[in-house]
C-alpha cells in the first residue's frame, strides 16, 4: 500500500471509531431570553396586526358609506292642493331618467312610505289625512354623474312641488367624519407600530446581552465581524419570524373566525348588538396582506437590530482594547 493511501485508510478507521453528533450551531438554539423575546414579539405582532385590521375595517367602512351616499340622490314631492301625487311621481321619474348619468329611479310606494313613518306615527295611520311627502330614489353613475342643476331646473319647470336632494351636505359631513376616523386610526397604528419597534429593539438587545461571551470568543478565535453578525442574525431572524408569524397568525385567524361567526349567526340578538357596536369583522385581502407585511417587517427589524448589536458589541470590545481604562484589570 502506498503511504498516502495508508494514511487515508488510517484516518477513515479513526473516524469510524468516533461517532460525532451533528455540528452544533455557532449561536446556541433558543435559551430563556430567546423564548422571552419570542413571546414579546408574538404579543406585539398580535396587537399591531389587530390595530391594523381595525383601521383597515374602519377605512373600508368609511369608503362604503361615502360610496353609498354619493351613489344616490332623492327627489321629494310635497303634497299640494289639486296635485295628483301618483302622476307627479311618475313624471318626476321620467324626467330624471331622461338625463344621462342616472341609472335607476324608484318611487317609494305608499306602503314603504308608511313603514318609514311608523316609528313616529305608529301603525295604521291614514296617509290621506296627512300631508306626507313622497320620495323618488335615484341611483346615479358615480363616475359620470348627471347635471344636478339641469335636473333641478327641469323639475321646477314641470313639477314645482318636487325638490331634489343630492345629499351633498350629509355626504360632506360623513366624508369629513370618515376622514377623521381614518386619520385617528392611522395615528393609533403609527403609535402602535413605533411601540412595537421599540419593544422589539430593546427585547432583542436584552436577549443579545446574554450572548456577549459568545461574540467575544468568536472575535478572539479570529472570526470576522460580518461572520459573527450573520450567525446571530440568522438565529434571531428565526426567533423574530416565529414570534411575529404566531402573533400575526392569531390576529388573522381571529378576524376570520369573527367574520365567520357573524355570517353564520345573522339576525340573532347578540350578533345584531355586536354588529351595531363594531360593524362587520370582515377583513379585505389588503388587511391580510398588511398583517403579512407586519410579520415581515418585525422579523426584519429583529434581524437588523441583532446585526447592529453584534457590531456594537465588537466595537465595544475594540474600544476596551484602545482604552485600557475600560478593560478589566488583569
Amino acid at each position: 500500500m502506498t503511504e498516502p493511501a495508508a494514511r487515508t485508510s488510517d484516518n477513515q478507521k479513526r473516524e469510524r471509531l468516533v461517532t460525532l453528533r451533528p455540528m452544533a450551531p455557532i449561536v446556541p438554539p433558543v435559551n430563556v431570553s430567546g423564548h422571552a423575546l419570542m413571546v414579546v414579539i408574538a404579543i406585539m405582532s398580535f396587537l399591531c396586526a389587530m390595530t391594523l385590521g381595525a383601521v383597515t375595517m374602519v377605512q373600508e367602512k368609511a369608503e362604503t358609506w361615502q360610496g353609498d351616499v354619493s351613489r344616490e340622490i332623492t327627489i321629494q314631492v310635497k303634497p299640494d292642493d289639486g296635485l295628483d301625487m301618483e302622476a307627479a311621481l311618475t313624471e318626476v321619474r321620467n324626467i330624471v331618467l331622461a338625463f344621462p348619468g342616472t341609472l335607476t329611479a324608484d318611487i317609494v310606494d305608499r306602503a314603504s312610505t308608511a313603514r318609514l313613518l311608523e316609528p313616529w306615527l305608529g301603525e295604521g295611520f291614514d296617509m290621506d289625512e296627512l300631508p306626507v311627502p313622497r320620495l323618488v330614489i335615484v341611483t346615479i353613475d358615480e363616475t359620470a354623474p348627471p347635471d344636478f342643476a339641469a335636473i333641478r331646473q327641469n323639475l321646477a319647470d314641470n313639477v314645482p312641488a318636487a325638490a331634489l336632494d343630492d345629499h351633498r351636505a350629509w355626504a360632506d359631513r360623513l366624508i369629513s367624519m370618515a376622514r377623521i376616523t381614518v386619520l385617528i386610526g392611522v395615528g393609533i397604528l403609527t403609535l402602535m407600530f413605533a411601540t412595537t419597534m421599540l419593544t422589539v429593539i430593546f427585547a432583542t438587545r436584552g436577549a443579545m446581552a446574554g450572548n456577549r461571551h459568545i461574540v467575544e470568543v468568536l472575535h478572539f478565535v479570529g472570526a470576522e465581524t460580518s461572520f459573527i453578525a450573520s450567525e446571530f442574525q440568522k438565529r434571531f431572524l428565526l426567533i423574530g419570524l416565529k414570534g411575529a408569524a404566531f402573533g400575526g397568525g392569531v390576529a388573522a385567524l381571529g378576524f376570520l373566525l369573527l367574520g365567520a361567526w357573524q355570517s353564520n349567526s345573522m339576525a340573532t340578538a347578540l350578533n345584531d348588538q355586536v354588529t351595531a357596536l363594531f360593524g362587520r369583522f370582515t377583513l379585505s385581502s389588503a388587511g391580510y396582506f398588511g398583517i403579512v407585511g407586519i410579520v415581515v417587517l418585525i422579523s426584519a427589524m429583529t434581524a437588523v437590530t441583532t446585526r447592529l448589536t453584534v457590531t456594537r458589541t465588537i466595537r465595544e470590545i475594540d474600544r476596551e482594547r484602545a482604552d485600557p481604562s475600560l478593560a478589566e484589570i488583569g
Binding site: 455557532i26 472575535h219 478572539f220 478565535v221 465588537i314 475594540d318 482594547r321 481604562s325 478593560a327 488583569g330
Partner: protein, 219 residues
C-alpha cells in the same frame, strides 16, 4: 516577529502597571513569562494578543505597527496567534470536539478536512473519551486541555498560554509541556505565563520575569 519598544500601560489615571518594556519574540522561540501575582503577566499577554493597546511605546506584530491596524484587520492577524485564556472561554453549548474545531470553522473550512486532525489532537491531550462532552460536565483540567487544543488546532505562528498547567496534575502538565515543545520544534513561537517553577525547570528556555511592571529577561 513580535517587537515591543518602551511599552507602558496604565489603567485610567492609575499608576503604570507595565513600564518600559523592550523585547522581541523571535520566530520559533520558546519563553516563559513569570513573576509574582499582580505583576502584570495577564496584561502583557493581552498586549501580545492585541486585546489591549499600550498607553505608550511601540508594538510591532508580524511587521505591522498595531497602533495603526484597523479593527477589521485584527481578526485576520489573530488567526496567526493561538491563545489559551486563564478562564478557558469555552462555549457551553458546544462539545469538546466542536469547541476545538471552532477556529477552523470560523475560517470557513469544511468539517471533513479537519475532523481527523481534531480527533487526533483531542486524543493527544488525553480527551479521546470526552469528545462528545459539553464543557459544564468537564473538570477544570479537562477544560484547560480543551482550551489548549483549541489554541493549537490551526498550528499558529505564536502560541500564548496563560497558566496552561494551573489546573492539571504533574503528569498531565509534563505531557502538555511536551506538546508545547513539540509545537515549538515545528516552528511555533511559544510564550507561557506561569508561576510553576517545576515546569520552567523542565525546559531550557528564555525566562521573562515581570516584577512591579518591569521586565527582566534571562536568556
Amino acid at each position: 516577529m513580535i517587537h515591543f519598544e518602551n511599552v507602558g500601560l496604565r489603567y485610567g489615571m492609575g499608576p503604570e502597571v507595565l513600564r518600559d518594556l523592550t523585547f522581541d519574540i523571535p520566530k520559533g522561540s520558546f519563553q516563559f513569562l513569570t513573576g509574582p501575582s499582580g505583576a502584570g503577566k495577564t496584561t502583557l499577554m493581552r498586549l501580545l494578543f492585541m486585546s489591549l493597546k499600550p498607553t505608550r511605546g511601540l508594538i510591532r506584530m508580524f511587521d505591522r505597527d498595531i497602533s495603526v491596524i484597523p479593527g477589521e484587520e485584527l481578526p485576520l492577524l489573530r488567526r496567526r496567534i493561538g491563545i489559551v485564556f486563564q478562564d478557558f472561554r469555552l462555549l457551553d453549548h458546544m462539545t469538546t470536539y466542536e469547541n476545538v474545531s471552532l477556529p477552523l470553522r470560523v475560517r470557513g473550512k469544511d468539517e471533513a478536512s479537519y475532523r481527523s486532525d481534531v480527533i487526533e489532537l483531542l486524543k493527544w491531550v488525553g480527551l479521546g473519551e470526552r469528545i462528545n462532552v459539553l464543557p459544564p460536565v468537564l473538570s477544570g483540567g479537562e477544560k484547560q486541555r480543551v482550551a489548549i487544543a483549541r489554541a493549537l488546532i490551526d498550528q499558529p505562528e505564536v502560541l500564548l498560554a496563560d497558566e496552561p498547567t494551573g489546573n492539571v496534575d504533574p503528569p498531565m502538565a509534563k505531557r502538555l509541556l511536551n506538546l508545547f515543545t513539540e509545537l515549538n520544534r515545528l516552528g511555533t513561537a511559544v510564550v507561557i505565563a506561569t508561576h510553576d517553577l517545576t515546569l520552567m525547570d523542565r525546559v531550557n528556555a528564555r525566562r521573562m520575569i515581570l516584577t512591579e511592571g518591569r521586565l527582566d529577561i534571562h536568556d
